[in-house]
């Protein structure tokens, strides 16, 4: 059984606007467990943190190159490294990241090929199958906050010209959708909402519909014509078909704002192809997440073969929680802390479905557990089709 002694923290270099790093208190916490922590040179500098902020005189906190941090026993990085960077990992090393096993088969295959012992943060679930490392609250609230920011420029204090409440139409009522309802009725920001109420503002009506209504064009036309904000929080069973065709976007008032909380990309070369839930909207990131209808960047992220003739201002971001980096990382660190003890006590190979709550949760997120359950599913499917 290999017990980890070192942890590496590489920077996330997806885009300039990606400022998220684990905060000094989290690094100090790991060091206090007797683990030697190596942070990449410049880690946290975009958020104003220096190496000394991380080290705080602790001899277990050290600085290293990107290549070196990837070589440590355990590597922790929120967003998955690029596939090419997997080669930097030590064979037999442990990668902890948002790896999204179910939707990233190529990534899973590569990790397996390289002998990486992976733990996917999005697969860490409790005995009741509830994710223990997630920030869906921030996905919904940050997305809605951006949408109301846009709307507020048109309507100061968010008062419609006719004095009526703002109408938000939310598609999907999963975990993100539920938070979106909450965020929408509070203008995406509690402080702004309190101010709005004090000034006697008209507030918000949030309307929510599921698949049984989105399939009905007549009802959808009626709802969309009244919507000031349209939110996509769907989890589609068939990602090859949009929920809202581009033609339907034309039903929205000109001033409407589209909020994209789902992060499905356009992957037209996959089989079957993957398209976005709302057809023709761009894909944003932390560098740029607001797109006006005449934005020249619109076409850069939408394949030419996808219809995008009808456009409304769209707010879209691959990493909505990253809009408020510090609060996001404080949240993730709080969720990760109890999970680290079993990992450092037993190592990846020693994890099992024991009677420790967090060890079980961690085990479920290991690549070995995923591969075992996937194989079971496959044999189950083969069995069913054979009868």
């Amino acid at each position: 059984m290999n017990i980890p002694k070192t942890v590496g923290f590489p920077r996330m270099m997806k885009e300039r606007g990606e400022k998220r790093v684990f905060l000094p208190e989290f690094i100090q916490y790991i060091a206090s467990l007797g683990i030697t922590v190596f942070i990449e040179d410049g880690y946290g500098s975009r958020s104003g943190f220096t190496f000394n902020d991380y080290r705080q005189g602790h001899e277990n906190v050290r600085r290293a190159t990107r290549e070196e941090v990837f070589q440590k026993d355990v590597v922790i990085v929120l967003r998955s490294p690029e596939m090419a960077e997997f080669d930097l990992l030590r064979r037999g090393g442990c990668l902890i990241s948002m790896l999204h096993y179910p939707t990233r088969p190529l990534r899973v295959a590569r990790l397996q090929e390289l002998g990486i012992k992976a733990i996917s943060l999005d697969s860490i679930v409790s005995d009741r199958n509830i994710r223990l490392v997630e920030n869906m609250h921030a996905v919904a609230w940050n997305g809605l906050e951006a949408a109301f920011d846009v709307l507020e420029k048109r309507w100061p204090a968010l008062c419609r010209p006719d004095g009526q409440p703002i109408r938000v139409l939310i598609l999907g009522t999963g975990m993100v959708g539920k938070h979106a309802v909450d965020a929408a009725t509070k203008l995406g920001n509690v402080e702004r909402n309190n101010q709005h109420m004090q000034e006697g503002g008209p507030g918000v009506i949030a309307m929510t519909v599921g698949r049984n209504v989105t399939a009905n064009p007549q009802t959808m036309e009626m709802l969309m014509r009244q919507a000031d904000v349209l939110v996509d929080a769907t989890q589609r069973r068939d990602a090859s078909k949009p929920v809202i065709s581009n033609e339907w976007i034309g039903w929205l008032p000109e001033h409407a704002v589209v909020v994209d909380l789902a992060v499905d990309p356009y992957t037209l070369d996959a089989s079957p192809p993957v398209v976005r839930g709302i057809e023709g909207i761009p894909q944003g990131n932390l560098n740029k997440y607001i797109f006006a209808p005449d934005d020249p960047d619109w076409d850069n992220t939408v394949p030419a073969s996808v219809s995008s003739q009808h456009r409304r201002t769209t707010v879209t971001c691959y990493s909505w929680p990253g809009i408020h980096p510090e609060s996001c990382m404080r949240h993730y660190a709080a969720q990760l802390r109890p999970l680290l003890k079993p990992l450092f006590a037993k190592g990846y190979d020693g994890l099992s479905l024991s009677d420790d709550f967090f060890e079980r949760a961690l085990y479920r997120a290991t690549l070995k557990a995923w591969l075992a359950s996937d194989a079971e599913d496959r044999s189950g499917r083969a069995g069913s089709s054979g009868t």
């Binding site: 539920k178 309802v181 507030g203 049984n212 709080a334």
Partner: protein
């Protein structure tokens, strides 16, 4: 010296319809951790579980005793908060583990402290990011909506709820906190996956949910427009002023005759000589419980409401103090799973005195819910 958790599990005697008790599997796991468990005679009988099932699960660590004896144990675990008389049976220094609801029941805090008791309030056990670890808000919303749609099936006019010819069902949810957001998700699915499948199979149009927060309810004209088209009105509010309803009784008159009122908040009516001290979010809805939770407009329960409550305008109402109790087995399975790591931590730490507020995850969570640490 090794610590043995001696814990009493009394039955809940609130109403005959209250059938919930912790399941044998939960008791068995406690026993395997070294606890001695004292169950009240007939524990589990409301759910058709016999004493032998508990003996089988927990072996010699399981004892069936009188109600009084369960309350005399150093630890008492009971989901719903007991009566004052039951609490008087507890010995000073003992610890009550129950849904105490500290923030809204200050009199309970005073009473427990006067009796020299410790408590762990299940609704206050939260993780480091503020999420409740022992809760069943999902069941509150889903069970309430399930009953509301069952009722609507009876009241809905021609062509009927299951007809593909009817328009989409309009559900209005007032309040979008933890319960409200669950209610939105449940409403869209008819509160019942089976009914939803049936609706899909016949091609019936779906459900459209309108969610409004407390602040919008001051807009009379807007609310009138919404209510006049509402088939099911759901109260899931947490009001800052419990003396004022969110939906005054007069507004109930704006709803279609077939509409169903669903009460998911559990506020009771309290009146004094000056009038209403506390009212339900929808004024004039009777307070239901597990014995009766559906009220037709001519139900005598309306007449039994305190005189200060306006009940002039009536619709079919569904209300229950303990919505999760509608499906007792599923409910107790959820609570049992959530409580296992809590009790395991208590045993491991030698009881509530050994809980370190800066200790491990579950210790911190328990510490946040402990009466003696409440400021």
């Amino acid at each position: 010296m090794t610590f043995t958790l001696q814990i009493g599990l009394p039955r809940m005697h609130k109403e005959p319809g209250e059938r919930r008790d912790f399941l044998p599997d939960f008791v068995g796991k406690l026993a395997r951790r070294g606890a001695e468990i004292y169950l009240e005679h007939s524990y589990g009988s409301g759910m058709g579980i016999g004493e032998e099932a508990y003996h089988q699960a927990g072996g010699t660590a399981v004892h069936f005793v009188s109600r009084e004896e369960t309350y005399r144990q150093p630890y008492v675990l009971v989901l719903r908060y007991p009566t004052d008389d039951e609490i008087r049976l507890m010995q000073p220094g003992a610890c009550l583990i129950s849904m105490v609801h500290y923030p809204t029941r200050p009199q309970r805090i005073t009473f427990l402290r006067e009796r020299g008791l410790e408590a762990i309030s299940l609704d206050s056990i939260t993780d480091d990011v503020g999420r409740r670890l022992v809760e069943n808000l999902r069941a509150v919303a889903w069970n309430g909506l399930e009953v509301a749609f069952q009722t609507l099936q009876k009241t809905y006019p021609a062509p009927g709820l299951t007809s593909p010819e009817r328009p989409p069902i309009q559900v209005t949810v007032v309040g979008v906190g933890g319960v409200g957001t669950e209610a939105v998700a449940a409403a869209i699915r008819y509160g019942d996956p089976t009914l939803r499948q049936k609706m899909l199979a016949v091609g019936a149009p779906g459900v459209q949910v309108t969610a409004v927060d407390y602040d919008l309810t001051g807009e009379t004209a807007v609310m009138r427009a919404i209510l006049s088209q509402t088939d099911i009105l759901v109260d899931a509010t947490q009001r800052p002023d419990a003396a004022k309803p969110v939906i005054p009784n007069e507004w109930v008159g704006w709803l279609p005759q077939h509409a169903v009122l669903l009460d998911l908040s559990v506020d009771p009516y309290i009146c004094d000589k000056n009038g209403i001290v506390q009212t339900k979010g929808i004024e004039g809805v009777p307070q239901g419980n597990l014995d009766q939770y559906v009220f037709a407009p001519n139900d005598p329960a309306y007449d039994q409401l305190p005189n200060c409550v306006n009940r002039t305008h009536r619709r079919h109402a569904v209300s229950c103090y303990s919505w999760p109790g509608i499906h007792p087995h599923a409910c107790m399975e959820v609570y049992g799973k959530q409580l296992q790591p809590i009790l395991r931590t208590l045993i491991k730490k030698g009881g509530v005195q050994g809980i370190d507020p800066n200790g491990r995850y579950f210790e911190r969570a328990i510490a946040r819910a402990t009466l003696s640490r409440l400021t």
